[in-house]
Symmetry: C2
Subunit: 355 residues, 2 copies
């Protein structure tokens, strides 16, 4: 495969693969593999420190915000967040705008009350709800910034009187926003951060320690902060890959620089889609995601033919999620503009022949 | 470094490092890195299936036992086990025989009652308590089979009327025991299984579903079983390394074959220690671990001199844990007998000159 449009785990820069591969054989000329070094040695401490510090720089975080690399995936955050932030008789507000948005809504009621302030389920999550009220007494408001499956994205940060909590798994570090507005941000690493097996959590320490329940050590953000994000043996290699990839992003000019390229990629693909009636984007224009572009065709045979053509041309990960069908093209940071050019050329060619 | 005696993350076979390194560049000749393939593709499904099946074969598991690769480390199991197996008004029995044994004892009371049936804390955990009674009404009995820090190991499986739960992080797959006697076995992968960032859980499905509390999805073993150990994005690369290492162990002849070599390594090291009065093993003879060999010297200056000598000779991971001091030599499956020979030769040489 030559072009990787996977939704996650997904493409990373070639130099990251090369450095990570070398680290498995001989890490920093120690004669040891990154897989066999102690996690409490200066060797690994340097990796973790650089990864945390680079996140801090790339996101322009203030001193209230702590950077943690945790086990368990974003799915663990679905319950860890209410466990830490939602008291039994308190209430949290959730926005329901995608398959991934419904999952935390199912976990939170184990810990307290929840109110779903709006949902776009009525139209298969093809838009972002605009008119909703966040109750001022909510412990927090939770939403998903980018919906990987449906290809919608919230382009501005909602104004809210309550602490803001966001799942940014599929668009973190892809665009400049004021990350300091958030009380808690989480993201599975396997898209724009690094390798699967680790989750980035950025938390404003001022929201912690306010619930009355006892929290198991591994689920207590405060314990992770106290222990410098090394409460137990961390996922060493996954964090190493994050560090390499974050270092790469910083060298590209950071979030501000990659955002320009991400905009070019998304513009090129959406403009092509809009110019070719054969392809039908499923999302309303104003809520289209710049990370995951979803479209279908009217004719299942045409869809199959285009899918086969993409495979022939060495393209991976173009098939849509089963809940939407059609196609999903992921445009994460490491995907070069050239891959989108080749895809859009193929779409034009296909439309000329078959449209 | 040429000889790696690290306590974990620890040495793995060279061929595993080479294959894992290659997989990061080009996995199974797909042209894609193992880090950028979808976890729900046949490509990764094959890796996960082989890893789970090889565990099943190596441990000779019966059909009641399920094999899971989970996030979170053994430290997550410290609370996940009582969350799944211990009702609020029920009682669980724990054996306290090391620093790592005390940690689950601290987490379990959040979920129910616990009874510590015996402790060897009185002598800095330098022995395994022998005379204790497990209450017949306990929901389960929990113990640590091998104490990584203190270098003790329980050489037989305790007879008990209640479900047996064991932390086998530092001696799993190193010796033949009847794994089917256990209701739940867990082990961080970073010693004898593979790379840090994944935890093996082997659970007898008959003990599940008996507590009344609601369990968050990611913490519910039944949900992981239903989803074939892929409830969310798994730690792909860490599982890949486990699969490669388990495949290596199977090719060596499995647990029974590696046990013979492990016995040779431990015998050689303990015999050398016992023959050289300069070195003082800290553990009573009958409870000595075959995985982690702990010893001290009477004179701190001698200790420093020997530590320096080991470093000069390219030996990593020989320094003891701060709670015991002295030295700790870990003899995990991938450590060749030749490394122990070189170490014991060095000890003899040092004792001749300095003893």
């Amino acid at each position: 495969m030559k072009y990787n449009f996977n939704a996650g785990p997904s493409i990373l820069p070639n130099e990251v693969f090369e450095q990570a591969s070398q680290g498995v054989l001989n890490f920093n000329n120690t004669g040891l593999s990154i897989l066999e070094i102690g996690h409490r040695t200066p060797l690994f401490q340097g990796v973790l420190d650089e990864a945390r510090q680079t996140v801090r720089e790339l996101m322009h975080l203030n001193a209230d915000h702590e950077v943690l690399f945790l086990h368990g995936g974003a799915t663990t955050q679905f319950f860890q967040i209410p466990m830490n932030l939602l008291d039994e008789h308190a209430k949290a507000a959730y926005l329901d705008c995608g398959v991934w948005g419904t999952k935390p809504i199912k976990e939170a009621p184990l810990f307290g009350q929840i109110e779903v302030v709006a949902s776009s389920k009525d139209k298969n999550y093809s838009y972002i709800p605009r008119h909703f009220t966040i109750p001022a007494d909510a412990a927090y408001f939770h939403y998903t910034t980018n919906n990987t499956i449906e290809g919608t994205q919230m382009h501005c940060v909602p104004e809210t009187p309550v602490p803001l909590v966001a799942d940014m798994s599929s668009d973190i570090l892809s665009r400049s926003i004021d990350f300091n507005k958030f009380s808690l941000i989480y993201a599975g690493a396997q898209k724009n951060i690094g390798a699967a097996g680790v989750t980035l959590v950025v938390v404003n320490k001022n929201v912690l320690g306010k619930v009355s329940r006892k929290i198991p050590s591994m689920m207590d953000y405060r314990k992770h902060i106290e222990n410098g994000s090394m409460l137990n043996t961390p996922p060493v290699f996954a964090i190493y890959v994050c560090m390499l990839n974050l270092r790469w992003l910083k060298a590209q000019g950071g979030v501000e620089a990659i955002e320009k390229i991400n905009n070019q990629k998304a513009d090129l693909l959406y403009q092509t889609l809009d110019s070719l009636p054969l392809f039908k984007p499923t999302v309303v224009k104003e809520d289209r995601s710049k990370m995951n572009v979803v479209f279908v065709m009217d004719d299942p045979e045409q869809e199959k033919a285009f899918l086969d053509l993409c495979k022939q041309e060495g393209m991976a990960g173009v098939k849509g999620h089963r809940s939407v069908g059609g196609f999903r093209i992921s445009l994460y940071n490491a995907l070069p503009l050239s891959s989108v050019q080749i895809l859009t050329d193929l779409m034009k060619h296909f439309a000329q022949k078959r449209g």
